[in-house]
Amino acid sequence: MTAQTQFSGGFQNAPVQAAHAFRAAMTVMAQPGEIRDLRGAQPPKPLSIAAGTLLLTLCDPETKVHLAGEFNTDGVREWLTFHTGAPISQAAVADFAVGSWAELSPLGSFRIGTAEYPDRSATLIVECDALQQAGAILSGPGIKDTARLSLPDAPALQANAALYPLGCDFFFTCGDRVAALPRSTQISVEA
């Protein structure tokens, strides 16, 4: 097997793979707590397949991407630039950010939108070691009664939800699986 280069690992059939990937992304954003498979990209390490696929599906020269900590490597930068043309940016102006929870924290560095344009906020792609329908209890739009999702840091995400309708939105990725948490979700943890 040859070493991965910046030129490999993109979509083989972009229109169809991006359409499938978007449907998975939309499904989990519309139904917090749901977990879906998300494949198509073969990104360089440490990016997961799901995170790489999200980046190829949603990013282009019009979106600024922040690579946090160990994700900010030559390999990831070159791969992202070659396949999407997205400019790499600081956290404060990013439309998308990728990293582990520890590297993306504190959330205060990211855009939360404005009162008149709450959509102008960052979407964070959080790489996780595990992703399970267990742990924090979720309720709100998209959820029938309640759902459960393993969250990296419930108090910080509760604080984000308290900013509603402002706030960041999150994808949680683990291998080739994805879940999401929009700012509209109420979070509680069992005592």
């Binding site: 139904q31 008149e116 739009p141 998209g142 959820i143 029938k144 939105d169």
Partner: protein
């Protein structure tokens, strides 16, 4: 089918629309601006809905188009053909078999499932527009939750007509935050806006996308002494006998004879196929 322009739009345009859809789902009822593209059909033919559908469809989808409840109008047929040709998707008239449904002026009678997506064509997305023509002002009103004027307008209706006269595009409050125009569906359809499926709204000329995720609280604006009523013609369907569906009144002859029939043609047909019989069907059989 040119795979490089799957569903007509180029990939960069679809990415832009997809990003707008995700933000719309994250803030239910809020209108996300997007850069609407020229489509090969005139505004008023659902270019906003068409762009949202184009960004949503996959080759495996089964697509249905409803226009005022019917699948066979010129508008519905041409949108269905457009996606058969540009996305190679299967199409259907059966609500149950569709995975993506684009609609103008109605929500289907059948209960939609969580694996279905409904895309509404929206002419005027801003529910406050008739009170305030300036976009900068309506944005401010939404940001401050300043919806008093909307209630005043509805209340003026009551004092003038004894009831709220708004019959279509009846405003709703989504998830206790944003007042939203549900598009020109009859207010009879408003209670169905709390559903299991994902609801997306696209306005082409006005360049707005908004959304209601499944199981989201959607409340029609009303008053304690004048509660919201999802009214329809007080009559069963003359073809299938349904008493729970929205009806169109059809004039039958010069003598002014009329009949009431389900506006949702698929609902009516499936009921008749199941053996339900309405008044006129009974007379014909007799």
């Amino acid at each position: 089918m040119n795979e490089y322009n799957f569903a007509y739009l180029d990939e960069q345009t679809k990415r832009m629309i997809r990003r707008a859809i995700l933000k719309a789902l994250a803030v239910p009822g809020y209108q996300v601006p997007f850069a609407s593209r020229e489509m090969p059909m005139p505004y008023g033919w659902g270019t906003g809905g068409v762009q949202v559908s184009a960004a949503t469809l996959t080759p495996e989808d089964t697509f249905k188009v409803i226009d005022q409840g019917a699948d066979d109008t010129t508008n519905a047929v041409s949108i269905r053909k457009f996606f058969e040709n540009t996305a190679g998707v299967k199409t259907t008239e059966e609500t149950e078999k569709a995975t993506v449904i684009q609609t103008r002026h109605r929500t289907p009678e059948a209960k939609l499932r969580k694996d279905q997506i409904i895309v509404y064509q929206v002419p005027i997305p801003e529910p406050l527009r008739f009170l305030e023509p300036r976009e900068t002002e309506t944005r401010k009103m939404h940001s401050l939750e300043e919806y008093g004027l909307m209630h005043v307008k509805l209340y003026e209706d009551i004092s003038q007509h004894g009831a709220i006269s708004t019959a279509y595009a009846y405003p709703v409050k989504v998830s206790d935050r944003y007042v939203m125009d549900p598009s020109p569906i009859p207010k009879f359809d408003n209670p169905k806006l709390e559903m299991d499926a994902i609801q997306l709204f696209g306005a082409g000329r006005e360049q707005r996308i908004y959304a209601v995720p499944p199981h989201t609280k959607v409340v029609s604006l009303d008053f304690e002494d004048y509660p919201f009523e999802a009214t329809k013609a007080d009559h069963p369907c003359d073809l299938c006998g349904a008493e729970d569906s929205y009806l169109d009144e059809v004039i039958m002859d010069d003598a002014g004879n009329r009949m009431f029939v389900c506006s949702d043609t698929d609902y009516c047909r499936s009921r008749r196929e199941a053996g339900h019989v309405g008044r006129l069907a009974e007379e014909n059989a007799a």
